[in-house]
């Protein structure tokens, strides 16, 4: 009904924004290349300042495990950024889902994979709920997920107090510690062992490929992007926009749950604190990777690179053993520089194009 009113009032329409430049290929291509260069440069700087940066066991493997988590966290945000929405409850959705996993493991003794599936279902459901509220009421996603965040904040702690008697479940399903501790180097076929890559990393890779295929090739993903570009036009082109909104948010919840699981695996316990630190990195990874907050365009590879860059920054600064204030200040500054570099690159590309066009 509301949609109709919107549609029926040409007078209330906002004029379309001036077309943004530098939005699509091949710039996007360059952006990823630029980010890759930033990552390489950071690795070179950090490892020359601290050779320990290249220690595979103490630095690289844990770094990869962290990157794993934050790729999925970034993808969880990316799922709704495709619509031009935000999910400021990503962290709390992860917390609720990991609660469900911990509950399943400790109360029902389910195997690792079953608990994971239960948690993913809970994540998808809570995401769908928030998507549903947004779709039906038309209230801004920031507001809905902010309210949800407040709500879940209360709920999750109440649930943990009630069912876990504290902040964490003590259950550790079989296989969890292998996920946490092992790399492929622990698994050998005769004398040949795998690389020192944490067992969890492939999970993020699979998630990234799946999300990439979704937005690149699948009808559902493309329709989410179209809805993100112009919700009204999408509706009038026969796209079931409400369903897409619900699905995108459900996907966000599902990925948040997966991220929660990965973090629980990395930390070794299903606890209430899972997800508390997800919000900012969830935006950082996609944005560093070139996804705009406006919706309609996403970059999965960029998100992977963005998560990598931010974790490399974090790890490197950690190794440099800055004091707390310097650590924070440098993280902020490095981020600003990394983000601005992209702007510089865009300007340069634009200039070159202008010059070529003028010829």
């Amino acid at each position: 009904m509301r949609a109709l009113r919107d549609l029926a009032r040409p007078t209330a329409a906002r004029p379309a924004p001036a077309p943004r430049r530098g939005r699509y290929l091949p710039l996007l291509m360059n952006q990823r290349v630029g980010l890759t260069l930033v990552i390489i440069a950071l690795v070179v700087v950090f490892s020359s300042l601290r050779p320990a940066f290249l220690d595979t066991r103490l630095t690289i493997a844990p770094l990869l495990a962290d990157i794993t988590v934050y790729i999925v966290v970034g993808l969880a945000q990316l799922a709704v950024l495709s619509l031009g929405h935000m999910n400021v409850a990503v962290g709390r959705m992860a917390a609720l889902s990991t609660f469900a996993m911990g509950f399943a493991y400790s109360q029902w003794d389910v195997p690792l994979i079953v608990g994971l599936l239960i948690g993913l279902a809970v994540g998808a459901a809570i995401g769908a709920l928030s998507g549903g509220i947004i779709a039906v009421t038309g209230v801004n996603s920031f507001v809905v997920t902010l309210a949800l965040d407040f709500g879940l904040l209360g709920l999750v702690t109440i649930l943990y107090t009630r069912f876990a008697g504290g902040v964490a479940f003590s259950a550790r399903p079989a296989g969890l510690s292998a996920l946490r501790n092992d790399t492929f180097a622990n698994y050998c076929l005769g004398d040949v062992c795998g690389p020192r890559i944490p067992l969890v990393l492939p999970i993020a890779v699979i998630a990234a490929i799946a999300v990439g295929v979704l937005f690149r090739h699948a009808r559902v993903g493309r329709e989410m992007l179209m809805s993100g570009s112009n919700m009204r036009a999408a509706e009038l082109s026969g796209i079931p926009t409400r369903r897409r909104v619900v699905q995108a948010h459900a996907l966000s919840g599902l990925l948040a749950a997966l991220a929660g699981f990965l973090l629980a695996a990395n930390n070794g316990a299903f606890s209430a604190a899972i997800g508390e630190q997800f919000l900012l990195p969830s935006f950082l990874a996609p944005v560093l990777g070139g996804t705009l907050l406006a919706g309609g365009a996403v970059s999965v590879l960029g998100t992977v690179l963005g998560a990598t860059a931010s974790q490399v920054i974090y790890k490197g600064l950690n190794l440099l053993q800055f004091s707390l204030e310097n650590l924070k200040i440098y993280i902020g500054l490095v981020l600003l520089v990394a983000l601005s570099l992209d702007r510089v690159r865009t300007v340069l590309v634009q200039r070159r194009q202008d010059r070529e066009a003028a010829k």
């Binding site: 844990p62 943990y160 504290g166 698994y187 070794g268 630190q277 053993q321």
Partner: protein, 326 residues
């Protein structure tokens, strides 16, 4: 067929000389309580002729970040760890990781929930400390009246122990003192604590005779709040931040319960050094109380000596009772 190989670094676990021992003291995040650890790290380094000793508070009250910090420190060559775990519920996983890699680990200033998987835990017995604090408050109240307990994160196992300690002291008055409320979750920041205290005093100020604190920000907040309101409420705080000592001096609070952060970090470093140089724990995971002290206006000048004595005693205790060295 497919086989599984386990990870370990034999170099890390081999006995070494003290000058090869590098101790890292890692609190859960920035908190005034841990500030003495910074100086103790330096002192331990010279006293025990350690290769190095550092203090790193960048964990930001986040278990993941703390794990990252620990791994980075290990990569930097630190090989013995004194840790205040952010999350008592899953810090054991971190302890086990470090131990598997051959590093001695001490749980300092708090013990994990349940069993302790670190080599030892040197911490205040928080239940005892809270009990003492409550008793001190009840004494200040004249043994009768209504008491309120202000504390930290409700779902922290230490908070639960503190509540238990306070309840025990109240129970001993056989009804003369009533615990009207445990106010939890107000240690996050100073403003929240002040607001909570103001609201509490507004709602029930006239019924309250005593406030016992077992967390930092509420201590600062209630000292000021009570002074401002002019209500005749007796306050007992926790720890020895300058703010609190000044408040004891000017009489706006009755006293404070001190813990022993210096002892924890100093003796902790000592034991870590011993464990690195070939000693073992007689009982792995033993829990040691680092002591707690009630300080009132009269004791302001003497408590430091008391604490130093306790620290010295703790060190001897470790040599005599807990460590087994060849």
């Amino acid at each position: 067929g497919c086989t599984k190989k386990s990870d370990s670094d034999p170099a890390a676990s081999a006995a070494k000389t003290a000058d090869k021992v590098k101790v890292a003291l890692v609190p859960g995040g920035a908190h005034p309580y841990f500030q003495p650890w910074k100086t103790t790290a330096g002192k331990a380094k010279t006293d025990f002729k350690l290769g190095d000793a550092t203090f790193d508070e960048t964990a930001g009250w986040d278990q993941t970040k703390q794990n990252d910090v620990l791994k980075s420190l290990a990569a930097q060559g630190f090989n013995a760890f004194g840790i205040f775990g952010v999350s008592p519920d899953n810090i054991n996983s971190t302890f086990e990781d470090l131990k598997r890699q051959g590093y001695p680990v001490a749980s300092l200033a708090s013990c994990p929930a349940g069993e302790n998987k670190a080599d030892f835990c040197l911490s205040t017995d928080v239940e005892v400390a809270a009990y003492k604090a409550a008793k001190a408050t009840i004494d200040a109240m004249g043994g009768t009246g209504n008491l309120v307990h202000l504390t930290g994160n409700k779902v922290d196992s230490n908070t639960q122990r503190r509540i238990k300690g306070v309840e025990k002291a109240v129970a001993e008055t056989s009804g003369k003192v009533v615990l009207i409320e445990n106010v939890t979750d107000i240690d996050k920041d100073l403003q929240t604590a002040k607001k909570a205290v103001a609201d509490l005093l507004a709602a029930k100020g006239k019924q309250i005779q005593g406030i016992v604190n077992t967390a930092y920000n509420p201590s600062v907040a209630s000292a000021e709040g009570v002074k401002q309101s002019g209500l005749p409420i007796k306050v007992v705080a926790i720890d020895d931040d300058k703010t609190i000592l000044d408040a004891i001096r000017d009489g706006s609070i009755s006293g404070t319960v001190l813990q022993n952060p210096v002892g924890q970090s100093y003796v902790g470093s000592y034991a870590l050094m011993k464990l690195s140089t070939g000693c073992t724990m007689k009982t792995s995971g033993v829990i040691v109380d680092s002591g707690s002290f009630v300080v009132t206006k009269t004791g302001l000048d003497s408590y430091e000596a008391q604490r130093t004595a306790k620290t010295e005693e703790l060190r001897k205790q470790f040599d005599a009772e807990y460590l087994s060295c060849k």
